[in-house]
Symmetry: C2
Subunit: 207 residues, 2 copies
DNA sequence: GGACCACTGTAACGCCGTTAGATAGACTGA
DNA sequence: TCAGTCTATCTAACGGCGTTACAGTGGTCC
């Protein structure tokens, strides 16, 4: 067998070991952020600590890899939302997707957004953010933003989403209103964005 | 000297020791949530670990005591805000006070709202919440809430405040809009609450 | 065969929260 | 006054954590 195939096989083996470690990490994480520790991971995945440190920089690095994987799925999902005619319903859909994701993946969300401040968001999430940016610019140019500052409009919606998720995560017991997520996002959008000027020629389909 | 006075003196001594421990805790906490540990507190305050555990149940209990003190100040501040004529500007003032407090006391805020979900908020904060409740009821009865659910209106504003603070805490580096806090609270209130019905007899002073 | 390299293991280090048990001193009642 | 009790404090340890120095092992390459 050729040297190239040997190398190939080694790479595969390596990837497979890392996969095993990552999967065990994932499993452990699903039992709660606090359930995860390197020692427990060691018990669970069959490898010893130095092996894990051989494949990943440290605990942080291991979790980063996992989060990148998971959040890139969110990024894809958001990027696949059709932009359509109406920027407001587009923003609504994105915000809803984001909040639902955060609530469904509380442990991952916490790790990503509640850890060290110098932690950069994964590229796919950042890409989604950039994509949103253009929508806000569009609304600003159309004179539809009620805030004096374009930045503050985007950040307002983001802050609300973060608050919704983080409230749900940290106070699971509280009796949150069933319609809270939709209601609050709608209210925020109403408050931020004025309806389009009346004098547009063509009629819009109700999206 | 009387037995009563002896007891009194002992109580004072006890209170003073606890004060010392709490103050050292506070100092340590101001250096960051992560800077705080019982071992470091022990180095700092001159007492040994068992002494601390003699006066406080455990780490959690110690922090609880400190947070109760600190947050009761917030509760007082909020309860002192004049309710005035206009419920909207009252809600605005309360929300602003809350957010500013959170941003100014990030470590305390984190400890209180980001710890175990079963953690109850201190009584003074809860009192403030109850006081707010009446304002929402009033608005609801006047038919001014745009949400289908009274609960969701209150929770929307709260979620936003939480998001604003927690965003600031976890992404200090990000370039937050200077007007974000006011802008977003105003937007949320605009989106949640309709202007009062026109057919009121008396004119209002512009508050 | 020998040098190199990726991989994995043993055993330890220095943190952490917490506690069992001893000691000292002050108060209490006979 | 003296034994008994209670409070406050200490020394020393336990079990957990993330991490790493170091050794061994088994392949790959010259």
């Amino acid at each position: 067998m050729s040297a190239a195939s040997q190398q190939e096989r080694r790479r595969e083996k390596r990837a497979q070991v890392q996969r095993t470690i990552l999967d065990a990490t994932e499993t452990l994480l699903l039992e709660g952020v606090d359930s995860f520790s390197i020692r427990r991971l060691v018990e669970r995945c069959g490898y010893t600590a130095p092996t894990i440190y051989h494949h990943f920089k440290d605990k942080e690095g291991l979790l980063d890899t996992l989060l990148d994987e998971r959040f890139s799925r969110l990024g894809d999902k958001i990027r696949r939302i059709p932009q359509g005619d109406d920027p407001v319903s587009y923003l609504r859909a994105v915000a809803l997707a984001f909040v639902r994701f955060g609530i469904r993946n509380p442990n991952h969300y916490q790790l990503l957004f509640v850890r060290d401040p110098d932690q950069a968001p994964p590229p796919t999430v950042d890409a989604a953010r950039v994509q949103l940016e253009t929508v806000w610019v569009e609304l600003w140019d159309a004179g539809r933003l009620r805030t004096g500052d374009r930045e503050s409009a985007a950040q307002s919606l983001w802050s609300l989403c973060h608050g919704l998720i983080s409230g749900r995560i940290h106070r699971q017991d509280a009796d949150w209103s069933k319609t809270l997520i939709e209601d609050s996002i709608d209210a925020m959008l109403r408050g931020l964005i004025a309806p389009p000027a009346k004098r547009t020629r063509r009629r819009k389909k109700d999206a």
